[in-house]
Amino acid sequence: MAYVPLADQDKDMELHHPHSWVTKYVWSQDHKVIAIQYGGTAIAVGLVALVLSMLMRMQLGYPESFDLIDPNAYYQAVTMHGMIMVVYLLTALFLGGFGNYLIPLMVGARDMVFPFLNMLSYWVYLLSVLILMASFFVGGGPTGAGWTLYPPQTAMEGTPGHDMGIVLMLVSLVVFIVAFTMGGLNYVTTVLQYRCRGLTMMRLPLSVWGIFVATVLGLFAFPALLVAGIMMTFDTLLGTSFFMPAVIEAGTALDYDGGSPLLFQHLFWFFGHPEVYIVALPAFGLVSDVISTHARKNIFGYRMMVWAIIAIGGLSFIVWAHHMYVSGMHPYFGFFFATTTLIIAVPTALKVYNWVLTLWEGDIRLNAPMYFAIGFIFTFVHGGLTGLFLGNVVIDLPLSDTYFVVAHFHMVMGVSPVLVLFAAIYHWFPKMSGRMFHEGLAKAHFWCTFLGAYLIYLPMHYLGFLGVPRRYYSLGTTDFIPASAQDLNQVITLAALFVGAAQILFFINIFWSLRNGKKADPNPWGSASLEWQTPDTPPVHGNWGDELPTVYRWAYDYSVPGAHQDFIPMNTPESTEPTAGEDHFDPDHDTSKADL
């Protein structure tokens, strides 16, 4: 079958051109509308998870002060907070939201390859969210087994939500994976097959690279969760013993026999570790573009950045057992996983150096998105450094069940991606809405979030070193924990409530700006990449008017010597490249030479 040229997309476009409000905004097949549906749903469900974390913090800071939070409710909050944040917020917002919005615009396509499948992906995702939310309303409530859902405790009487809650969680995950697979096939195929004329893979903005590789990781990693989820559903509903061992509950032996809980842990983390990078790689990509644009400088080491994304993606599949050091394993097995885990620090550190070197001698514009992007470098370095501690078996063993781990993963895959999300939302908001946001409010939002996040998580490292155990509903009185730990817990709780409340600034800013913001310039940041060169702002259905763009250069032509602007859009032909007077011309940077 020959390749179907892009010209045919116009015909397809006619087929699903919206004719009513419902087909335009509800059953829409336009990737931009679907992106906003995905993003809105993810943020809404993320707010539920945020409220749950506030409840947890209130309990930890002021134990026995709130009747609402009993041990069961606490564990349910822990579980749902974790699962929602990782899967239903971060994965959905980065890939379903930004992936959908940016891929067709950045590769110069009119839409995704399969717009109907794309629409279906969103509605199936919404279904998975609704199933998950339903577990709050069934008898026994949502599962409280922890987001890792380890058997056998998921199915045991003592675990809240061991009957309906866990079933709804598993079904919701399976439905989510179906939705993700539909979206993922679209993202991968669109990047591979629908790039516009002249746009080679190595000319793609790093955002597309990050989202593309993360999607590939997702397509390979989510099956592990699917397999584990299906077998666990069988164990729970049909009484099979894939994972459930022979076990005695309240004096009576259950019907299970001989299953392997460790097998579940392997499957779960074979998904769970790549999942970290499914969230991190799009963040790496987006932040690279934000930093380069606002530093008015090409990204340092573009090829290295691409290779690092691919290397991190590949390595992420052979490190999973570092989550299982405390499960017990052969020492050589632990040695292997500690080694691979530490090796992954190499490409990751390389990316950090390149971001910093991009800033070096750049013409930095400290706009709000840049605040968040630079803030990300700080939080990511801190979260990454504690990862070096935990990657080692001997250090992980004593720290694994303490707040040190909570601090580590919140810094590296909670705060850091969320800062990138804010950077990206502020950065692309003018293109998405056609309006500018309020700069001052956005900066206030940044300082509250950034400093507040440090106030929450830095003390947690210290609590971890003291040996304060995580997952505990209440510390009670223990000899090895000084009373001052409780004071610190109160400080953390106050900081968490403050940061939670500060997010109101973000919502006020977004909703206020949608109506009252200053009309945005089509390219307010002076960005070279393709999504800012659309004929309309916000882009209309079909994105590019009559003719698809042609790309003549990479996405990072900033501050090119001799050019009269400090950026040259990707679709500017080299011959019409506006140049300043000959006296500024630097022969070493003669960009037309290479075209010979």
Partner: protein
């Protein structure tokens, strides 16, 4: 070498249009085919993870091997015929001919349906002899893997039914050519998966 060339390109040096007058995909294939191949990789990952789980679980002491009913050989034959018919339809559709196209394409789907019916009969005979899904992990895996394989086949039959309806209502060969090609690829894939699953289930 072109892959190596691609990833070592220096995009900051080379300006101007790269490639021909029209945009080119990374692969010289329709987007549908690319997406299907990616999906086949995903499905392979799912089945391999089940196989790994099977092997790990098999080594635990409570495992009692299940004697696979001989009917499975008969079912396998049905699936092979189904795949052969699809290949026949594929070969016909390469030309614009319609001769035997309906027989081969619709026949391929019907044999797949017969295969699923055969699997269901195997299930019910196993149930009748007391091999329930929860009585032993070997049984659990048998029902799980055969069920999952059948579910994939049903997904293929949904696409097959859409193309069959188009063919039956007088559609031209070229309208369904791509669909036939992709169905054939998918059927061969599921046949290979079935043979591997069958071999694994039998070797316990």
């Amino acid at each position: 070498m072109s892959l190596f060339k691609a990833v070592t390109a220096k995009p900051w040096e080379r300006k101007g249009v790269i490639g021909g007058l029209r945009p080119e995909g990374t692969f010289n294939a329709s987007p549908e085919k690319v997406a299907l191949v990616v999906f086949l990789v995903v499905a392979s990952v799912i089945f391999s993870l089940f196989s790994v789980s099977y092997v790990i679980r098999m080594e635990l002491p409570d495992w009692t091997p299940l004697a696979e009913p001989t009917q499975l050989w008969f079912n396998t034959g049905l699936l092979v015929i189904s795949s052969v018919l699809f290949q026949w339809a594929r070969n016909i559709s390469k030309t614009d001919s319609r001769k035997n196209l309906l027989t081969s394409f619709i026949g391929g789907g019907v044999f797949a349906l017969l295969f699923i019916a055969g699997q269901l009969m195997t299930w019910s005979s196993l149930q009748a002899s007391g091999y329930y899904v929860a009585s032993n992990p070997a049984n659990s895996f048998f029902y799980l893997l055969t069920g999952l394989h059948a579910a994939h086949l049903l997904g293929g039959l949904w696409v097959w039914s859409k193309s069959s309806i188009r063919l039956l209502s007088g559609g031209e060969t070229k309208e369904v050519r791509q669909s036939i090609e992709l169905c054939t690829l998918y059927w061969h894939f599921l046949l290979v998966i079935w043979l591997l699953v069958f071999a694994m289930l039998s070797n316990t």
